[in-house]
């Protein structure tokens, strides 16, 4: 049962818009860049996933918990959308651009229009992975391997033998290298 208290725990659409209007330049950069990362090697663009996440929030279909920074909330929404997209494309390898709107006509994950077919998308992702593999060195490659095995940050540090500071530096080095690779 939804109580008044629970309703107050999320931002209204107007409050959400107010929060976004006061977002600093660097937070916008973080949002834009995180969207790019999530779409890395996929047949969809970061701006599309961002747009869809914003639409969901503006339509009141996804509500931002009060106290949660809006950029983190939007990132979470994008992450769920990409997870759903991957699940969709994985379940049906022939899924191309089928568009199934929800009954109320709101935007849905199926509104994302992949710009290439699934086999091409897989090939592109494979090539990107190979490029990443060639770019990273020693600790960086080991951190990524552990991440692929779904280790927690703590487990990665223990496995690779890094202090929290070294782990943070390694992540930064990986991010900067992959940013260069994407250019």
């Amino acid at each position: 049962m939804i109580t008044t208290e629970k309703i107050r725990d999320v931002l209204s659409v107007d409050e959400f818009k107010e929060n976004l209007s006061s977002l600093t330049e660097v937070k916008w950069i973080k949002l834009g860049k995180s969207a790019e990362y999530l779409c890395m090697g996929l047949a969809i663009e970061g701006q599309d996933i961002l747009n869809l996440a914003f639409c969901k929030a503006l339509e009141g279909k996804r509500k931002c918990p009060r106290g949660l920074p809006v950029e983190i909330f939007i990132y979470g929404a994008m992450k769920s959308l990409v997870d759903a997209y991957l699940k969709n494309r994985k379940r049906d390898p022939l899924h191309l651009t089928a568009k199934v709107l929800e009954e109320d006509g709101s935007l849905d994950i199926d509104d994302l229009q992949p710009n290439i077919d699934t086999p091409e998308e897989i090939l592109k992702a494979k090539q990107t992975l190979e490029e990443i593999d060639q770019t990273l060195k020693d600790d960086e490659a080991m951190v990524v391997m552990a991440q692929l095995d779904e280790y927690s940050p703590q487990q990665i540090q223990e496995t690779v033998g890094l202090t929290p500071t070294q782990y943070a530096s390694t992540l930064r080095a990986i991010r900067r290298k992959l940013d260069k690779l994407a250019k």
């Binding site: 660097v26 994985k90 943070a168």
Partner: protein, 137 residues
């Protein structure tokens, strides 16, 4: 790095989460310094802002369309119930008002030859709705 059994898209997605972890943990001042040297970071911010503006427009346009559809649907439901007027009756009503030199009719409406059946019905419906004439006239 990639086992053949794994979907490379899913693997990239896992790496993406690592990059995002670092991105959000990078102090704002440090990222701004990076952006000063890296145009692609600035561009990412601009893209994000544009995506937000586009979303505002898209959601607004959708609401407007929904309101139009609802209004149209309401009008379509209301008309047959209150105005079962055919073109002949409408023309007779207009002719009667014209003969009486009624000021409620516009000059154009008084020339029955120049208005279509549809316009004649619409005119009478409007006059009834406005209360200018009685629907049983």
């Amino acid at each position: 790095m990639t086992a053949d059994t794994n979907d490379p898209r899913v693997e990239l997605n896992k790496i993406a989460k690592l990059l995002v972890e670092d991105l959000f943990n990078t102090p704002d001042a440090e990222l701004l310094q990076e952006a000063a040297k890296d145009e692609s970071l600035k561009q990412a911010g601009i893209t994000a802002k544009n995506a937000y503006q586009n979303a505002i427009q898209a959601v607004g346009a959708k609401r407007l369309q929904a309101a139009r559809t609802a209004m149209k649907s309401a009008n379509n439901q209301a008309l047959p119930e209150t105005h079962p007027i055919d073109a002949n009756i409408a023309r007779k009503i207009i002719a009667k008002l014209t003969a009486a030199n009624d000021s409620r009719l516009t000059l154009a409406a008084r020339n029955l030859n120049n208005i279509s059946d549809e316009d004649a019905i619409e005119l009478v419906v409007e006059l009834v709705e406005l209360g200018a004439i009685d629907k049983d006239i």
